[in-house]
Symmetry: C2
């Protein structure tokens, strides 16, 4: 079905079902000049926004609309997770080219609503308009966190223990499948594709760390571990030493890299879109927080290194040799990716 | 200068000066996973978002970047005005094609910052990324309003007096100049071009009406008066009768229409982007609110009609004949504009 058959307001009516899943405190959702909702006292508001552009971030013909909607929501939820927050309201702006069928947009909204509902997030509004060529999607999420618990990038001190909440590099390997047009790889390698297509925001992990009292700083690993840890270095004014053999790599990524004769640690350092959290822990609390994490989630909080007094990011190789590493993530304009 | 010479983070550093102009309550601005700020108790949060796409909403080669930035900010501020609210924080997402020079983006940010600063609004974050062809700009604004004062579209009752806070149709005439490539019309007609290029959000008027205690509903006139009053009809479940000879039309628009042998009332009804407010007032309060408005702003709150018990929107012509009018504003997908 073509969008002009139902018009702008018909489209808004069509997709707005299932958008308001937590009505408490919401005074106005879709349909007024602005959304209106109550914010409980004593909380900080958190806001994050992310723009996805066709032919830059995705190929419409090669992407399932559900997965695209899921990812657009997930990347923003991951930013709220990295602040230790709880996501509450989402706003979706869409610029839609004339050749994009309504059914694609239905799928896109299904993907967004499904992940939003799982985390109690309302879609409270947005904007829909036309586009000449490319589909463009901007999601803004508003969340909250107690001021005493918020996790910034700037709180790490020398001696803090650096951990990550999950394995790294899977999404990058999954991207290789997508780029090669491989939609059903060996079942043993399927988790890599899923890590790329349906990333899971670590919201429960972020809340756990915020409440633990032991976390001094956090951020999500979206551009690649080396790039994101460089943000932590810069914002906290510390150095960070990472041990290559402690970087957690999944069994499927090991198998994939063995077959491809590639180094999984390179995938983990330079690959982006992992959406796990990197966190700095006070050294006197690290052991207790790690044990409680294992108990709560049934998997470890991986200790990968420590913050140091000297600036910069260094990688200690298995033979004990340390080398300075430059950030090697994604720059949206330079297009550079590896050092 | 090309964007890839300074990179994504260089660009963010370059434009972030002057973004934080009201630091109270702001815990984190640009540079963390999300912005963090305090919300005073007892207030509703208001959120609005608007997406502008090159070749749909503007032509890059024919637009001053300052004016584009101004308009992107203004259309969102106008939505906050229509809720009776105070705007506080803005978030800007940009998708930038490789052929867009940094100087254009500087101008764009200057336009946004200038209007934001005038209304005490911080630019607290956003997202910047690449685009293949078109420049895309999404602005989200967060504001607040006391729950007792918020103005929805749904509060009007039969008998309420319908007013607008300014003249209508000027922006549409200004658009004609833009489409004709006329950048310096007759000085007497210049206000029409300015109404289109540099619309003024009626924030003070919105706050005044919200505090007046006499307003029952409001919205901003963005798609065209007939289209926007239809929203009021639908959301409030009333009819609205508008008197053609009471619709306020500026002297420049009268002069322009006389020369073009066109009907200024048609410009006022069908033209969009006026960004004045339409408001419903309790009949027993209308006179006092109008007098106070005149005293405060030095110009009238124009009474254009009343809400009725019968549904629909009707226009009473100068000879006393009433005719039903269909909405004739802009549909972003159908592209229809006039009935």
């Amino acid at each position: 079905m073509r969008l002009e058959e139902i018009g702008e307001f018909g489209f808004i009516r069509r997709v707005s079902g299932g958008c308001l899943i937590r009505p408490e405190g919401v005074e106005r959702a879709i349909g007024d000049d602005a959304a209106a909702f109550a914010v409980p006292p004593g909380q900080l508001s958190l806001v994050t926004t992310d723009l996805l552009v066709e032919r830059v971030h995705f190929l419409r013909e090669a992407t399932s609309p559900f997965n695209l909607g899921h990812k657009a929501m997930a990347v923003n939820l991951s930013d709220i997770a990295a602040m230790g927050g709880t996501p509450l309201e989402a706003f979706v702006s869409l610029a839609i080219p004339g050749n994009c069928p309504v059914e694609f947009l239905d799928g896109l909204y299904d993907g967004m609503k499904s992940l939003a509902a799982r985390h109690g997030v309302n879609i409270l509004g947005g904007d829909t308009t036309g586009s000449r060529v490319d589909l463009v999607l901007n999601v803004t999420i508003i969340g909250q966190v107690r001021k005493e618990e918020v996790l910034y990038r700037s709180g790490a001190s020398p001696g803090d223990v650096i951990c990550v909440t999950g394995t790294l590099g899977d999404s990058r390997a999954g991207l290789q499948f997508v780029l090669a047009g491989e939609t059903s790889p060996d079942p043993a390698l399927r988790p890599l594709l899923e890590a790329h297509l349906l990333p899971r925001p670590h919201l429960e992990e972020g809340r756990f760390l915020a409440e633990s009292g032991g976390a001094t700083a956090a951020l999500d690993v979206s551009d690649g571990l080396s790039s994101d840890l460089t943000h932590l270095v810069e914002e906290s004014g510390v150095g960070i030493r990472v041990y290559a053999d402690r970087i957690p790599v999944s069994a499927p990524l090991r198998a994939y890299c063995a077959a491809q004769r590639q180094d999984p640690v390179r995938f983990a350092l330079a690959g982006g879109e992992d959406y796990v959290l990197a966190v700095a822990l006070r050294p006197d609390r690290a052991r207790a927080v790690g044990a409680a994490f294992l108990e709560r989630f049934g998997r470890p909080l991986y200790r990968i290194g420590e913050a140091t007094a000297a600036g910069g990011l260094e990688l200690v190789l298995p033979d004990g040799v340390a080398e300075a590493i430059r950030p090697s993530g994604w720059d949206h304009f330079g297009g550079r990716e590896a050092p």
